[in-house]
């Protein structure tokens, strides 16, 4: 969960670039991950991350602490990512296929044995494939719940929907995943 102090935000709002860089270091991983899982493309995730932080920088002065910074940044990230995904789908006239997986460079850890690395890569492919078959609204809820570990209430606030909508989107998404992947033998 993103945890940014008020002092850091005030300093960044006054134009302190070191403070803003600190905010970026703390929260960019979350933003980039959400963007990548929603758009399915590394290039699009980079574009979304840039747009989100430029927007955050320009709006820090007007942030009134009515909600948590994490809720605010998740909302901007999710909206920006979904909008870009829709734009790309419209440009190509169909649903954008997801990348199979992130490059092995991003995931291979020194010391991992080959079979574990391969298993991880396979799982990464599977996750991308699973997310790619869901509509954006259901995908957003799955990403926030299963990958970001947010609570229902936090998801509802970030997406500006009510709790039962969160439940119904998760339920429909999982039903679909079970129907598509439930029969497969997992390694």
């Amino acid at each position: 969960m993103i945890n940014i102090s008020k002092d850091l935000m005030f300093r960044a709002a006054r134009g302190d670039m070191a403070a803003f860089e600190e905010i970026y270091k703390i929260s960019s991983g979350y933003v980039y991950a959400v963007a990548y899982r929603v758009t399915g493309k590394k290039e699009d995730a980079e574009e979304v991350t840039q747009d989100v932080f430029i927007s955050v920088y320009r709006n820090l002065r007007s942030f009134a602490f009515r909600s948590a910074f994490s809720t605010w940044i998740y909302r901007i990230a999710m909206n920006t990512a979904i909008n870009l995904y829709r734009k790309r789908s419209k440009e190509r006239g169909r649903t954008v296929p997801f990348d199979d997986a992130m490059g092995t460079k991003d995931h291979a850890h020194k010391g991992d044995d080959a079979s574990r690395s391969l298993e991880k890569k396979d799982n990464e492919k599977l996750v991308q494939s699973m997310l790619g078959c869901l509509p954006e609204d259901q995908r957003a809820c799955i990403v926030m719940k299963d990958l970001e570990g947010l609570k229902y209430e936090e998801i509802a606030r970030a997406l500006n929907i009510n709790l039962n909508t969160v439940r119904s989107r998760l339920s429909r998404a999982r039903e679909k995943l079970v129907s598509l992947y439930g029969k497969e033998e997992r390694p």
Partner: protein, 159 residues
């Protein structure tokens, strides 16, 4: 609780740890006694939940931060006019009473100066008119400077 309701909970609140303690116990008791629901739970976990629990968080490349920095920094450092206007705006909004007082004082000084100048001009014109009136009067009664008696008759002056 019926299996249909249990299955709904298995897809959401049960899987995500959002059940109240009472409901949690109730679902647990149901699962102990219902083989069908246990199979459904296993399927949901393996097909729709477990794959997400084992993924790494991707990290954005360094170029992303450099692009963001390049996009936001010039707003503060490369445009002196914008910086000056921004400071001026800030000063006007944050120190309003001080500026209002200073403006009022400048206005009072300006008004007093204009009034003093106007009075002075009026006095000069008034003196000039008085002077002229006095001069004309002196011409009229024959006591003017130029008509002063110099002691010899006018005819003798040109002879």
């Amino acid at each position: 609780m019926k299996c249909e309701k249990i299955e709904k909970l298995l897809l959401t609140d049960h899987a995500d740890g959002e059940l109240s303690p009472e409901l949690k116990d109730e679902v647990a008791r149901h699962l102990e006694n219902c083989e069908n629901c246990r199979a459904v739970e296993k399927k949901i976990r393996s097909a729709a939940i477990m794959p997400f629990s084992n993924v790494s968080r991707p990290v954005p490349p360094e170029s992303v931060w450099l692009n963001i920095k390049a996009a936001v920094e010039p707003r503060r450092t490369e445009n002196p006019v914008e910086t000056f206007l921004s400071k001026l705006r800030s000063a006007l909004t944050t120190k309003k009473p001080v500026f209002a007082l200073a403006t009022a004082m400048v206005l009072v000084v300006a008004l007093v100066s204009v009034k003093a100048y106007h009075d002075r001009q009026e006095r000069i014109v008034s003196y000039f008119i008085d002077d002229q009136i006095a001069f004309l009067d002196s011409l009229g009664n024959g006591n003017g400077t130029q008509a002063e008696d110099i002691g010899i008759p006018m005819e003798d002056m040109f002879m």
